[in-house]
Symmetry: C2
Subunit: 151 residues, 2 copies
């Protein structure tokens, strides 16, 4: 059983795509995040849901969550507006602070996938063939494959 | 809209529960992890799927994933066996290395939840009332609540 056989389809976004659309994709499909690819379709990094939240919530509220108590529902609308004019690439950490892309070749074994995921403590693994994304594997899917009697 | 109104039911495990059962729960229900509670039902920490994988994969394979290429399917069975005699608490990092529990009161607002989640970069937030877990909120669920037209 190889990585490319168990990879699942996963939505990808490009750096120039709208940040609001990426956020809506995560929200509507209940995903842990989206995979960001470059113009040639090569996976660059993973944009997790909590990173998007950082751009919805004003910085002074992140510092002191009790300030959020004074926010009303209208303010939530203004939070969404904070994403409207941004691009996905503006939500990513600077290149030198980005986490190593959790990635394996399509011909990686299931144990190899588990080893990479365990080392990087990533909930998501990108499977690539010839520098193009084939799909992703989640930690829970890998556990299901490794534990007899679950899948 | 308060945290307790939007919290979703979530499986919890105790430190003395079997590690294999916790892993099977994550696998079967495709969860990012499980919430660990103490004997009194108070949430202690989150056990994410990738942490469980660390105990399935022998350490020398985590160091050098290419070694996994020599593993066959029978070896995968032996990996599962590595969990059989362990308890959940043996899978947790030592107390001083554990991440801060991402937790809010049941009466936290949605923006407050987003602020805590953004600060801790956690995909999961535990909602508690009177020291007992009410449920959890995922990052994608929060995004759905904050973005108009998604939920």
């Amino acid at each position: 059983m190889l990585a490319r056989d168990v990879a699942e389809e996963y939505p990808v976004v490009r750096g120039d795509d709208g940040a609001l659309e990426a956020a809506e994709m995560i929200a509507a499909r209940r995903l842990p995040g989206v995979v960001v690819v470059d113009a040639a379709g090569r996976p660059v990094t993973v944009l997790p849901g909590p990173e998007v939240l950082r751009f919805l919530v004003p910085p002074y509220v992140q510092e002191d969550a009790s300030l959020a108590r004074v926010f009303d529902e209208r303010t939530a609308d203004r939070c969404a507006a904070r994403l409207r004019d941004r691009r996905v690439k503006e939500l990513l950490p600077p290149e030198d602070e980005r986490r190593e892309l959790p990635e394996v070749d399509g011909d990686a074994t299931v144990i190899e996938c588990a080893a990479v995921m365990a080392r990087l403590r990533s909930p998501l693994l990108v499977v690539s063939d010839d520098d193009h994304i084939t799909g992703v594997i989640t930690a829970s899917r890998l556990l299901a494959l490794l534990l007899p009697g679950v899948d």
